[in-house]
Symmetry: none
Subunit: 206 residues, 2 copies
DNA sequence: TATTATACTGTACATATATTCAGTATATTT
DNA sequence: AAATATACTGAATATATGTACAGTATAATA
């Protein structure tokens, strides 16, 4: 993160304070009023500088389209906002902005080993171990998994949650916990396979 | 808080999701785009209804001037230590010190409606709805329960987790979610029965 | 039965707002 | 010495946006 000038800091603080107070970001005119500027261009140039330095993002052509970019310097807080990502049949569950349905505030060490995001479950392939539709799996991003771990894996374009079982150096088996589903045998030599992470816990709201 | 219609709930959810995604509230047009309305007035009337019912506030004449009113005051928003209580076969799960196995740090409003303690599950009587041995059920202490709720009930000296079903003014049925278990018919006139609370969520660590 | 709330489409318009252009001035960097 | 970044004023403008008005229709309520 680049260094910030004192005036730019004032503008950044102003945006945060305005957000806390009203629930929505200020306009250029609002910032001028708060900080005593007489021209909206004063706010504009500061905003552009803050955007260039990566402190905020500005949605072009959008009223109040300012959002503060969190570098997550929440050293004082143990909590964090964790994204909830939908398990889409085709395509990997990435942390891209458009895939984030909501965020959940949760202590960092909630699931003992720490985790990276929540994955919303589709289907019942793991129902016998109590993983039901729309449950939220706490996923720790890693590719170091052991036999018997519940993993989030991508096979070609499909993302699934299954038990992991290495059969041989080149063969991996993905095992469901539901007799209506078949084991998936993966040949690492010929198939595009990737471990997204493993389940370290589960959350359900009802 | 007054009751909300399903369409109004959709609009409220839409605002929250838009806020999470962009950092600022939606315009009327944005809401229309998200929910498929063809006139900005559709969003407008829903917003007015939500404002009238106290779910949101609208700043007049202000672009994107919508803010969601959360009735949970920031004072209780802080984290809390929640006790984990074992489901002992005999005796009610009380908050007495000797029954507390451990505590878990968790945001107050983690399970949307708020809750009082975690109950560690014994047995598999609710396995078909994904409640497994050693899972932690988030319990809200209440005796206002509806048919179909998952309740924590005490019958004589036994505490169980089951579906609640009122059959008649004096007959309540406790239904497991496991074909190996039988329904329990409770005659309120002759049996000592008490609702400890109901399940508002579930937590599993692995 | 009349009234109110819900749930929309569609048009129109005043104004709220982002954004550009034209300046002035000082400090910092190349 | 020239270029760039900072830090403003002031005016102009295209458009983004709230909001009113005119309808249609159904369900709930008094």
């Amino acid at each position: 993160m680049k260094k910030i000038t004192s005036q730019q800091q004032r503008v950044l603080d102003c945006i945060q304070i305005y957000l806390n107070k009203t629930g929505f970001p200020p306009t250029r005119a609002d910032i001028c009023k708060e900080l005593g500027f007489k021209s909206p261009n004063s706010a504009e140039t500061h905003l552009r500088a803050l955007e260039k330095k990566g402190f905020i993002s500005i949605e072009s052509g959008t009223s109040r389209g300012i959002s503060i970019i969190n570098n997550d310097n929440k050293l004082t807080q143990a909590d964090n906002e964790y994204p909830v990502i939908g398990l889409v049949a085709a395509g990997s569950p990435t942390l891209a902005q458009e895939n984030i349905e909501q965020t959940i505030n949760c202590p960092n060490k909630f699931f003992d080993s720490g985790f990276d995001y929540f994955l919303k479950v589709k289907g019942l392939s793991m129902k016998d171990v109590g993983i039901m539709e729309d449950d939220l799996i706490a996923v720790k991003k890693t590719n170091e998994v052991s036999n018997g771990d519940i993993v989030i894996a991508r096979l070609e374009d499909e993302v699934t949650v299954k038990f992991f079982q290495r059969k041989s150096p080149k063969i991996v088996e993905l095992e469901p916990a539901n007799e209506d589903y078949e084991n998936i045998v993966v040949d690492l030599e010929y198939q595009d396979f990737h471990i997204e992470g493993k389940s370290v816990g589960l959350l359900r709201k009802n």
